[in-house]
Amino acid sequence: MLFNSYEFAIFLPLVFLSYWFIFQRNLKLQNLFILSVSYLFYGWWDWKFLILIALTSICSWGSGLLVEHYDKEETGKFNKRKWITAANLILNLGILGFFKYYNFFVINFIELFASMGITLEATTLKIILPVGISFYTFQALSYTIDVYRRDIKATKDLVSFMAYVSFFPQLVAGPIERATNLLPQFYKPRTFNYSDAVDGGRQILWGLFKKIVVADNCAILANYIFGNSADMPGSALVIGAICFAFQIYGDFSGYSDIAIGTGRLFGIKLMRNFNFPYFSRDIAEFWRRWHISLTTWFRDYIYIPLGGSRKGKWASIRNTMIIFLVSGLWHGANWTFVIWGAFHALLFLPLLLLGKNRKNTGIVAQNSFLPSFKEFLQMGLTFVLVLIGWIIFRANNIEHLWSYLSGIFDSSLFKSPMYVSMINDNLIKNVLFVAILVLVEWFQRKREHGLQIMGLIKQRWLRITIYYVVIFLIAMVGAKQAQFIYFQF
């Protein structure tokens, strides 16, 4: 079920009313209800993959209990806690690896050996990637590791745990929640909070605007230009890259806004996933603002355990490379994602080595309306670097990437792209939608989301008018329903 579908428009109010009016009095029933509707939500796509999510949940829950049980019986050299945790990690990563990377590794091994003159016979499988597998697997792993580290107590409440792994608003595309934040929220009764629910509604509306108006309209041009890049002038290729930059941002941050807003309707607070990343002044700041839940996951569960930046320069370089490469590979089984990760690592490392990676931690233009000239240049340069990264990310393969990049840097960069009818028909409206997004987010950069206007705009009639304008734009100029990009990851 997609957030931008009519099924969800019926599903959400029904679940909301049942949750507060029928199940509120009994916490266990309410959690069981969340679990059931979350499985319905996921099973709407393909019920067969419910088995996988149930398996991941039950094994992680069981391993947590065993790890805690052996906590008191720790004797001898054989560390049962470690082995149980490792077994659960291997199982979950094994499932993820099989569904996501099996064919990728088989093909690359065959090609590697073929380049050495050795012919290997292996067959690839027709594997369907279960939606959101990377998200819920990482969420389950966070619990396993946290229990092992004794950061959280193992839960005996299977229903709460399964609801934590499968909570429908963030199940298929995040934010990737931490057990320490989300799981305890299933232990205690939730109370309805009017202002939180209303602001959740606003956040959903803003998320829908970002997805349906900005991302899906930008997708039309981005898909066309990337799909026909060989026939496009350099100027069109730049437009394609910019459109993709706003497509992926609108799509993914829009999803996160809808997820967080939906969570708030149910009295559950999910972590922030985006913090206006295109206003970043350097790459380090960009990574503190983009897909925050994944970045912090890698930081806490890979970077810091490896030693982080405490073990000298070379260890810092190694650890940085590792998390960026893993982050790239997390997005999919394609060398372009690995190169994208490496590209960002190379941009990040100079800042880390010069000790400037935490230079820009505050909000840009904190005390003024407009950025200074320096800040403006910094944001522009960071955006250009991110844009190059998005070309790497979006390219179908390495040859496509190379031809796209070399297509930009030739004389056709200065040729008008308006002779391409698709660009001529769509460019102005895309510029307009992106301009609305950027302006609203600039105004709102100190807040949680674009429509958090309570307190900012005192007049009620003006706030209501703004909501209706957003609804009007979604209805009138939203592009045709498209799947969220991050579902494939």
């Binding site: 309805f192 009017y194 209706y468 209805a475 045709k480």
Partner: protein, 303 residues
């Protein structure tokens, strides 16, 4: 909670009301080639077929001659060749209280043939729209608008700007009028394009026993509610020849079916010198009027 629900209703009721009211008042035959067909009530007398029938048979002419309200429930060769999807849709559109209805079923070689993939699997992919459209007599047809990503509704607000250049208009009785500024030169170009397209894309079709089965089932089902007439609408000579290449014994097969179910088969395929088409395939609207008039005469004489 009450306050929240009130606000939620406030923000949902107004947009929904605007959506419903504008759809009822402003949706016309310009906004979409199919939408109005799913908004009219269930019907007693139907015209069934592909775009050839949609443009070539005028319910208004039938009404003035046969004193019955007709409805043209034909779509295109992609959407409504004979098959399960179209059959179910016809049955949904039919008023089950009908006793002496008239049902004109347009037949041509393309409506009983199919494309097949490399594995020999018959393709029904283009009939999905008709198959999934469960409501066929609801105004406004929310299902159709939603399933088409609101585009028919959005067209209400945008089509007035382009209406002057718009040449297709779906009448309330289901007739698809193509307001075509006919010239011999344009016709020649259109004919060439159409024939090229059909030679390239339609001549790899093969006779489909599935489609023949559903043609028979359609006849059989509609016979319970009145009289059925099979009609072959005239085309240009070039198209007629093409059809003969595709299914040389088409007329013989249809006559067999007509005899089996004891229904008249009015074959006008050789009348290409009498009527003018816009592109070799569809009757030009003055010719469509004349053809429908002639069809009325044939129906009256066959009674």
């Amino acid at each position: 909670m009450k306050r929240f629900l009130k606000q939620f209703l406030l923000f949902s009721i107004l947009p929904v009301a605007v959506f419903l009211i504008t759809s009822i008042i402003y949706a016309d035959g310009f906004i979409d080639p199919f939408y109005l067909r799913f908004t009219t009530p269930k019907q007693q007398n139907l015209i069934i077929g592909t775009s050839r029938a949609a443009q070539g048979i005028l319910p208004s002419v039938l009404k003035s001659n046969l004193n019955k309200d007709f409805y043209n429930y034909s779509f295109t060769v992609s959407h409504s060749p004979f098959g399960e999807a179209y059959y179910n849709s016809i049955i949904r559109k039919l008023n089950k209280r009908t006793k002496d209805g008239i049902f004109i079923i347009s037949v041509d070689p393309f409506s009983i043939t199919s494309h097949y993939d490399n594995d020999g699997k018959e393709s029904f992919v283009n009939e999905k729209m008709i198959e999934k459209q469960m409501t066929v007599s609801m105004n406004p047809n929310i299902e159709f608008i939603i399933k088409n990503g609101l585009s028919p509704w959005r067209a209400i607000f945008s089509h007035h700007k382009i209406v002057k250049n718009e040449i297709t208009f779906l009448h309330k009785d289901g007739w698809m009028e193509v307001k075509y500024p006919w010239t011999a030169e344009k016709y020649k170009t259109n004919l060439e394009v159409k024939m090229k397209d059909y030679r390239k894309n339609q001549m790899n079709r093969k006779r489909s026993s599935h489609r023949v089965y559903y043609l028979k089932k359609t006849i059989q089902s509609l016979q319970k509610y009145g009289k059925v007439y099979l009609v072959r609408i005239p085309t240009a000579k070039e198209m007629y020849d093409l059809e003969n290449d595709l299914l040389p014994n088409f007329n013989y097969r249809i006559q067999e079916i007509a005899d089996q179910y004891k229904v008249p088969y009015i074959d006008c395929s050789k009348d290409f010198s009498i009527y003018q088409t816009t592109d070799g395939n569809h009757l030009f609207h003055p010719s469509a009027k004349r053809f429908t008039q002639a069809l009325c005469d044939s129906i009256v004489s066959s009674r």
